[in-house]
């Protein structure tokens, strides 16, 4: 875990780790699906930088490398063909961890410090603390973290925290030949995305949007979609949010349960002091 980065939030932790000493801007990736040519340079760069294995490709009848993200494959160009109002289109979107502002994985994780969010917004898994329960995968609205049978741990994109921490841009960004991937502060990336969306609208793509879903507090990956009225065409959920059921048990059921269990214990002790043991009186 890079010491150059301060931790903002940490899974299953009672007290925040935030010291507020380091002033780090929140960073983001900018992905423009309209200028992605599907060359997969980012996929290769990700494997290279992170020293991940060659993962055998799976033929799905499309230009997509694998059917889904994989514990040793954290960056996947999703490929979809759609009949749109602008005619037939190939839709390509770079899929990886979205580095949510309010990460469902972190909320679901029961192990202290296994998932951390740095002050700059990057969400990272710490394998040393990961107990391999799989709850983050069910908690993530984007279905990103993947359980590795081999290691018994979860793995996902780190937003190249080891590069960002020393002032470099993520490997995928570095490799992109069309500049459809860019990296910078979240504010800059959102501004860039907005102006790109305006340009698309001026060109007749009335439904263009910058995908930065508010249900998870926004994401550390902002994505320009030409057909923003159909995020599912790109394999994106329409309104991702941290499950209300998860919140219900963590913030309501858990304290109520603790009160109920402790309360019963106290009630028993109280009853014993007040009533005493139940025994036959002499001669009964």
């Amino acid at each position: 875990m890079p010491q150059t980065l301060e931790i903002r939030r940490s899974s299953a932790s009672l007290w925040g780790e935030k010291t507020g000493m380091r002033h780090l801007p929140v960073v983001a990736k900018y992905i423009d699906t309209t200028t992605c040519i599907g060359c997969k340079a980012c996929e290769v760069a990700c494997q290279e930088w992170n020293d991940l294995g060659p993962v055998p490709t799976v033929q799905t009848g499309t230009y997509q490398t694998l059917p889904n993200l994989h514990p040793e494959f954290w960056n996947l160009i999703r490929f979809n063909e759609r009949e749109t109002d602008k005619g037939f289109a190939w839709l390509m979107r770079k899929d990886q961890c979205m580095h949510c502002e309010d990460p469902g994985c972190l909320a679901a994780c029961p192990s202290p410090g296994a998932i951390v969010q740095y002050a700059n917004g990057i969400v990272d898994v710490n394998p040393a603390q990961c107990i391999g329960c799989g709850y983050c995968e069910t908690g993530c609205p984007f279905d990103v973290p993947k359980f590795h049978q081999k290691t018994g741990k979860m793995a996902k994109c780190t937003l190249c925290v080891d590069r960002v921490g020393v002032g470099l841009e993520p490997a995928c960004i570095k490799a992109c030949p069309t500049a459809c991937l860019q990296f910078g502060t979240k504010d800059d990336m959102v501004a860039r995305g907005r102006s790109r969306v305006e340009a698309l609208k001026a060109n007749g793509f009335d439904h263009a949007v910058l995908y930065d879903p508010p249900g998870v507090g926004g994401t550390g990956v902002v994505t320009v979609l030409a057909h923003g009225d159909h995020p599912e065409w790109y394999g994106l959920p329409r309104d991702p949010r941290v499950s209300p059921l998860l919140r219900l048990w963590k913030s309501v059921l858990r304290p109520l349960g603790a009160v109920a269990m402790l309360g019963t214990l106290f009630a028993a002790v109280g009853h014993f002091m007040y009533q005493g043991p139940k025994e036959p009186r002499e001669g009964a």
Binding site: P110, C133, T138, L246, H271
Partner: protein
């Protein structure tokens, strides 16, 4: 071995309690034969093993429990297995005790809220209480139901990635709710089985109770076992 005189120095009641129950031996009555006690304590041990390995996963406030068992990784491995064994022990207990736990009219009467309050105030009329009172039978069926809820939701949480997301979210809620109610019930059970009613714990350890205990807590059972007529008709 010669018949008649006891062949060992051990308490004859305890010897009888290895195989039989509901028999009078001198001043004592055998209440729980060895098999019953072994099953009961297997259930209890496995329950607490599952509880203490599950609680640190439930909340970091109880993270220290994980250290007692070797860390959270150990807990995550141990908890489902302990839970599975607990369920099997519960199943054995269910079959073993089902015959004794049939709810009868006096038990239904006992279970009326007013009666239960009287019981806790030591003012109840227990004359018709058989081997187990209505509350014990209720506990028996409640924990059976609870164990079923825990195993179903627990299997989903053991392999959350093999089920739809909704299933594992509902399983989390069900597992939580069930275990909380279970702990509440077990705390009351342990209290009533130990401090609240002296002599009861002994029955689950050595198998026997005194005549006095039986006449006081389970009069109808006492009459059945001893053939004695009730003192207060």
């Amino acid at each position: 071995m010669s018949s008649g005189a006891p062949s060992s120095l051990a308490d004859p009641a305890v010897l009888r309690a290895r195989r039989t129950e509901d028999v009078v031996v001198g001043d004592e009555i055998v209440r729980h034969r060895l098999a019953s006690r072994v099953i009961h304590w297997s259930v209890a041990l496995l329950f607490f093993l599952a509880l203490f390995s599950g609680l640190p996963i439930w909340t970091p406030v109880l993270g220290w429990m994980a250290h007692l068992l070797g860390g959270l990784n150990v807990c995550r491995w141990l908890h489902p297995w302990a839970g599975l064994l607990f369920f099997l022990a519960m199943a054995a207990m269910f079959v073993h005790w089902l015959g004794d736990m049939r709810l009868e009219p006096p038990d239904r009467e006992w279970l009326r809220p007013r009666k239960m309050v009287e019981y806790m105030k030591h003012e109840g009329d227990e004359a018709e209480v058989g081997k187990y009172n209505g509350g014990q039978k209720l506990f028996f069926f409640a924990v059976a139901l609870g164990a079923a809820g825990l195993i179903v939701s627990g299997l989903v949480l053991w392999f959350p990635l093999s089920f739809p997301r909704m299933a594992s979210e509902l399983a989390t809620l069900l597992h939580d709710l069930t275990f909380i109610l279970f702990v509440v019930a077990v705390v009351l059970h342990v209290y009533l089985g130990t401090a609240a009613e002296p002599g009861t714990f002994h029955s689950m350890v050595r198998g026997t109770v005194t005549r006095r205990w039986a006449r006081f807590h389970h009069p109808r059972w006492y009459r059945e076992v001893t053939g004695e007529r009730p003192r207060h008709p």
